[in-house]
Amino acid sequence: MEVLQLIIYGIVLGSVITLGAIGVSLIFGILRFAHFAHGDMMTVGAYLALVGVGVLQWPMPVVFPLALAGTALVGIGIDRVIYRPLRKASPIIMLISSVGTALMLRSLVQIVWGPDNKIYEAGIDIPYRIWGLRIKPDQITIVLGAFALVVLLHLFLHRTRMGKAMRATSDNIDLAKVSGINTERVVLWTWIIAAAMAAAGGIFLGIDTRLNPIMGWRILLPVFTASILGGIGSIYGAIFGGLLIGVVQELSTLFISPAYKPAVAFGIMVIMLVVRPRGLLGGRQ
């Protein structure tokens, strides 16, 4: 029974990780660098939602899409100011500049909102009891919300012109250019989607636990592990990897102290990079 309970927690955590890992994979697929500021983009999304819920006192269903849109704008802004001038630079330079961006975003959040833990709404979320398992309504919201976003992303990538162009660019950017695809437009949409997904992940993480300025940095490791596990560059791999990492991290608490959860993600990442760097579902090296 305890195992089942942990699997449920793992799916909730996995939904959050998945939303981050999708963005990391998308950005890697199109721009070819590991985006280290992605966790902090999740933090930004979570805190933007806090403004709506906490300061303006709007209900979460209204605030949620606005926070996603706000974070998308932040993503576009970061790309314009920091990454676009470096577009032809080597992936290492991009990576380092994204570490710098991560530090800036985190510090900015800390300056504005302070270092303390915050919550969206006070009160207890009374869990349902189903066959002896405890499931909180918020957890159901998180899993269903993540599922809905993943379905929307799937439809976007397979049914729309821009979505298909995004997949094409991820496949082969040179051929995309000589086919007449405006790859800068594709990059713009990549940031919109990656940042919005990150914001959703950050908000869900804030609902499930608490908000603090390092929440995103802390979850970056499992997010990266998830995208590597599924095969970096592959969206569906990221979904699979995210859920797997979430469940494995929670199950590990059966054997070792919960404090070592990040170490579990790190261990999996190292093993994957040594044994099967292409990821379980293929993807790129």
Binding site: R161, K164, A165, A168, D174, V178, S179, G180
Partner: protein
């Protein structure tokens, strides 16, 4: 007025030049082949035309406009499409989606153009929902050429269209290229299968060490003893 004029271009990747003064002309309705030994800069000429490498000297005109160093998507917009030798399809996209990407620049439904491509290459029609990366080499080449035809270009650049194909298939691809040409599309291709390529070409250029060596009609080049001995394997 010629379709494409390459005037004495010099350039290459990075610091080293690969082309040392190459000139090529394609007239409307022509099939022109560029042949020559490995490392002669054949593919580099194509990349130069398409703005993918650095050109230090010389100019390139398409119809009446100078396109030297122009951005690839702007060249495509003017009616010149390019099929690279390798990595010329989107492997994870379906056959149909590959063709749709070829028409990305044109708004509106590409169904009519897609139907035309399927008429030209019936075998890929049955595979239209299959990921292009899972196709055999011959079918991939059909998808690659089909993608480049989606914008109804007036000039098509083909980099080694027969590379890696089974001998039976090579003839088939050349016949399809001829068919495309008869629809009014000018064709400039680089070919390793020199003999076959010249047989299907109006004119040919032989490139050696990044400069023009011979230039004649396909027939004359095939009949030229010196050319045959040096470049066509006797």
């Amino acid at each position: 007025m010629s379709l494409l004029t390459v005037q004495d271009i010099t350039g290459g990747y990075g610091a080293a030049d690969i082309l040392h003064g190459v000139s090529i002309t394609v007239n409307p309705g022509e099939i022109v082949s560029i042949i020559g030994p490995n490392g002669a800069g054949k593919s580099t000429v194509m990349k130069a035309v398409f703005g993918l490498i650095r050109i230090r000297k010389g100019r390139i005109f398409f119809q009446e406009t100078e396109i030297t160093g122009m951005r690839p998507d702007l060249i495509v917009r003017r009616g010149m499409c390019y099929v690279p030798q390798e990595y010329n399809i989107f492997p994870s996209l379906t056959v149909q989606e590959n063709l749709e990407m070829g028409a990305f620049l044109r708004k509106g439904d590409p169904a009519k153009e897609i139907a035309k491509v399927y008429d030209l290459f019936p075998p890929i029609k049955d595979r239209r929902k299959q990921a292009a990366g899972t196709l055999s080499g011959g079918l991939r080449q059909m998808v690659a050429i089909g993608r480049a035809l989606m914008l109804r270009p007036s000039l098509l650049l083909l980099d080694e269209p027969s590379a890696g194909l089974a001998p039976l298939f090579i003839d088939h691809i050349f016949k399809q290229i001829q068919k495309i040409n008869r629809l009014g599309v000018g064709i400039l291709m680089v070919e390793q299968n020199a003999r076959q390529a010249l047989r299907f070409s109006h004119r040919g250029y032989i490139l050696v060490m990044g400069t023009n060596r011979y230039e004649d009609t396909g027939e004359n080049l095939l009949g030229n003893r010196e050319v045959a001995e040096m470049f066509l394997g006797g």
